[in-house]
């Protein structure tokens, strides 16, 4: 891999890679109509060229913003690359964003073109169009359901490409000229961070930021151009940009796009990727699948799994402790692999994974150990949108499950006197769009102030404690990270989400969201009847079940950080209700206010709390909910 100069841009790199690999190699694959369909680098280049020139002939000028919304699919990436080649700036939106979020971002970013996937996205765009005067054209690519749309500001991606082909015939060198003009310090992406407290902020990332980020990560864990990667997480998440663009373009590995969101897990298994990067919730989901299948399995299967996993855990713990593994354990490990883990890894699509990364939120040590017991090389990373991805990662053979590892090359990480993590690297962003106050607060002398609290341990590993504003003060005045307990609770397959409370209080309490599918199935086997989530959550038997799970999580913890009381919430926490961010981080301040009654009840003598509230569904329907939540004390 060459060094990244300031002259290099994403389009320049894309162009040289596409020319190098040409028709010989597959740049991406998409599963469509049940078959994996390859797209060569040559086709990739042609499509991007036509989109770029099409955008130019529609009036795209230097620095204009092009927003994209939709599922992971080749067309989405082409549109992004096309916008960059035409000297525009890419903006990605989460596909499930509500109208207000879409409106805010389109308006704030001064988006001129919006590329939506199909009817749903077009409908969203049409409904906000009159409030975003800068929006000129809405582009769509999936014709399904679009037969009755004839507004003149709508145009299909095919039509855009046709315009591009026309322009190419008139000016055959225009595309290369446009690419040649670029400079590494120019803005490539305007990326909106889903703030846990305030409105989203738009981080400006340059070509240089993106490319150095990818290069520095690949220096730690090199990939090959024969590798496969599955792109199924939202492009609006910086981690996916990092893997698909920053790393993918430099290495030239093949990107694979699943058939639909629902088939992602199955498609991952078919591809068997070599590298993976996903937020903890994806790994948590895999763990849950295994746990639930284990509960359903017969006696022999259960026993084999138990034996194999205890061998796996033992070996993993030896590796964590950097101790030599005796030969008889190696034989046992091989035995466990052959008997159970091989199959299990195959079902999870992890057979060929060389490096699996997790980041974006905290992952509990229990989940982390689970994957290592299977022999999966799972590594924690630490990063944020503002460094174009990641800055800290575990190294092979030096993995500790309570740390996030060492800084990648070219990156300096320090802890301020207040305990805040600060970073300096070539990937540190340019600033927030139209928000100088926030920029001044975050960027000081080239150091990026993360707002996260942490420390550096004896092995020079970075330990991320929690968001500074989330750190709780216990009764004895010691700081405590609530997410530590929350991830511990979430290791139970029955608990989907948890929210731990206890800042400046006498003891710790928790609000639990049960996993509807898993607990529902458990209730079926116990012959419990229920009509829906709220009723199931309040069943005394379910309370007993949850209490047992909490007792397990409480085990081995000091008295002060044990969960003393808990309540089962009547609904799951949801990003659509602003309770979580789009990347599923808990918005503590918001839920604290929203569920004030519950918090107060948890710290009173009451053994229940009356709820009288209105829930708004996604389609705008409202339901009145009147229920009593039981408050339970965890018995020692």
């Amino acid at each position: 891999m060459e060094t990244i100069t300031k002259e290099l841009t994403i389009p320049k790199l894309f162009y040289s890679q596409a020319k190098k690999y040409g028709k010989e190699r597959v740049a991406m694959r998409e599963k469509e109509f049940g078959i994996w369909r390859p797209i060569t680098w040559h086709d990739y280049l042609e499509n991007v060229k036509h989109i770029a020139l099409g955008l130019v002939s529609l009036g795209l000028e230097e620095g204009d913003k092009v927003a994209m919304i939709g599922d992971n699919r080749p067309e989405g990436l082409w549109a992004e690359m096309g916008a960059l080649c035409a000297r525009g700036v890419g903006v990605w939106l989460f596909q499930d964003s509500l109208i207000d979020e879409v409106k805010y971002i389109i308006d704030h970013s001064d988006t001129k073109f919006l590329v939506g996937e199909g009817q749903e996205e077009v409908d969203k765009a049409i409904s906000i169009r009159h409030e975003c005067p800068k929006l000129k054209k809405i582009i769509w690519d999936d014709p399904k359901g679009m037969r009755n749309y004839d507004e003149d500001y709508l145009i299909s991606l095919k039509e855009v490409m046709r315009l591009g082909e026309k322009l190419e015939k008139e000016k055959p060198d225009l595309f290369e000229e446009l690419i040649g003009k670029g400079h590494g310090d120019e803005v490539a992406l305007l990326f909106y961070t889903s703030g846990t407290t305030a409105l989203p902020k738009g981080a400006l990332l340059s070509h240089y930021n993106m490319l150095t980020m990818g290069k520095n990560l690949m220096d730690v864990d090199p990939c090959k151009d024969t590798d496969d990667y599955v792109s199924y997480l939202p492009f609006a998440w910086i981690g996916e940009q990092m893997m698909s663009i920053s790393c993918g373009l430099q290495i030239g590995y093949t990107l694979n796009f699943p058939e639909s969101r629902e088939t992602a897990q199955e498609n991952i298994r078919e591809i068997g990727p070599h590298v993976m990067f996903a937020p903890p919730r994806m790994y948590e989901q895999m763990t849950r699948t295994v746990q639930v299948k284990y509960l359903d399995a017969g006696w022999i299967k259960r026993k084999s799994y138990e034996i194999a996993s205890s061998i796996g855990y033992h070996v993993a713990d030896l590796k964590f402790g950097k101790k030599a593994i005796p030969f008889y354990w190696k034989i046992l490990e091989w035995f466990a692999y052959l008997l159970v883990q091989k199959k299990l890894k195959d079902h999870l699509g992890l057979t060929r994974v060389r490096n699996a990364y997790t980041g974006g939120a905290a992952m509990g040590p229990d989940h982390f150990r689970f994957f290592h017991s299977l022999g999966v090389n799972l590594k924690q990373i630490y990063g944020q949108t503002e460094v174009a991805g990641i800055s800290v990662v575990h190294r092979n053979g030096d993995i500790k499950f309570d740390t996030v590892g060492l800084p990648i090359p070219g990156t300096e990480v320090k802890i301020t006197a207040e305990g805040e993590i600060i970073t300096k690297s070539p990937s540190v962003f340019l600033g927030y769009y139209k928000n100088p106050e926030a920029t001044a607060k975050t960027l000081k002398d080239g150091w990026l102030y993360s707002g996260d609290r942490g420390f550096i341990d004896e092995d020079k590993h970075l330990v991320v404690f929690d968001r500074t504003k989330d750190v709780m003060i216990l009764k004895d005045g010691k700081p405590f990270a609530p997410q530590y307990l929350e991830t511990r609770l979430k290791f139970s397959p029955y608990i989907k989400d948890s929210w731990v409370i206890g800042d400046k209080r006498d003891f710790i309490t928790a609000v639990i969201c049960i996993d509807y599918a898993v607990v529902g199935k458990w209730a079926d086997t116990k012959k419990l009847t229920y009509t829906g989530y709220p009723e199931l959550a309040q069943k005394p038997e379910v309370y007993d079940l949850v209490e047992e799970q909490i007792r397990k999580a409480n085990k081995d913890l000091p008295e002060l950080v044990k969960v003393i009381k808990f309540v089962n919430l009547y609904k799951e926490l949801d990003a659509d209700d602003d309770e979580l961010t789009r990347t599923r981080k808990l918005r503590r301040e918001f839920v604290g206010k929203k569920y004030e009654d519950i918090v107060n009840a948890l710290y009173s003598k009451a053994d229940g709390v009356h709820i009288d509230t209105t829930i708004t569904y996604e389609d705008g329907r409202k339901t009145h909910i009147k229920t009593d939540l039981h408050i339970c004390k965890v018995k020692a």
Binding site: F33, G34, I35, K144, G145, R147, N148, E259, S260, E262, T263, E266, Y617, D619, R621
Partner: protein
């Protein structure tokens, strides 16, 4: 049409125009399903005649009517639970297969090619349309009810019918599934690729009034009115006999 001394349908007449969605509504026991069974050929009415494209089809068996281009779905899903989604849909294409049992057993040349063509059709036109990629290899019996209904619709349109009889396609579905199903019905009716005429029996007034070109109201085997949704909603007899009685139907708002 009568069963013993019960007269289920009496002197009714309905004319379905090509390309439209014609809905039949009425309280429980009004005779809607009997009417559908007469049209699809499961029942043979004692009196009256059924014409399809100008031809009297009373004497034809259901499978002969299917060959003419009449397909249907059922009020309670009638899928093959042990078979996969793909196999269920392939079954709907049965009448389009030209190869016989013997060449099918050998599965070479023309037969294999024919199979590939049908597969392509099913994948590109049906599975993609109904958004059931994730379940194509699952046995239908294991699926939730809403998806089973979708598979049944898939099987019906695999026949590439000109007239599709939908007997309560929305019953028992949740709101999201209802919206999806209504979208699919509109798709197969309006999309240039399909242009299927639909005869729809449904209780969900919101959807019926939204998507129908004409609505036919039936009560105790008699026709009350046949007209546009607006006209039907204003008709005083309909309001009294049907729409006025809140508990007889479920409207989702």
């Amino acid at each position: 049409m009568s069963f013993g001394r019960v007269c289920a349908l009496d002197g009714i007449s309905i004319k379905i125009k090509k390309g439209e969605i014609h809905s039949v509504i009425g309280p429980n026991g009004a005779g809607k399903t009997v009417m559908m069974n007469c049209i699809s050929g499961l029942y043979n009415p004692q009196k009256g005649s059924i014409h399809y494209k100008g031809e009297r089809i009373n004497h034809l068996k259901p499978h002969d009517r299917a060959k003419l281009g009449i397909a249907r779905t059922f009020q309670k899903v009638e899928v093959f639970g042990g078979m996969t989604v793909l196999d269920n849909i392939r079954l709907g294409r049965h009448i389009h297969y030209k190869s016989g049992i013997l060449s099918g057993a050998v599965y070479l040349g023309k037969t294999a090619k024919e199979e590939m063509e049908h597969r392509k059709f099913i994948e590109e036109e049906i599975i993609d349309l109904l958004e059931i990629e994730h379940i194509r290899d699952k046995p239908v019996g294991m699926l939730p009810y809403g998806l089973q209904k979708r598979v049944e619709l898939g099987r019906a349109i695999a026949l590439e019918p000109e007239l599709l009889i939908l007997d309560e396609p929305l019953a028992g579905l949740n709101l999201e599934e209802v919206e999806d199903m209504a979208r699919f019905i509109l798709d197969i009716n309006q999309e240039k690729r399909w242009k299927i005429t639909c005869l729809l029996v449904e209780h969900d007034m919101g959807v019926v009034m939204d998507i129908s070109d004409n609505v036919y109201v039936l009560n105790f085997g008699n026709m009350i009115v046949d007209g546009t949704p607006e006209a039907v909603q204003k008709n005083p007899v309909v309001i009294k006999a049907y729409l006025g009685e809140e508990d007889l139907y479920a409207t989702r708002k």
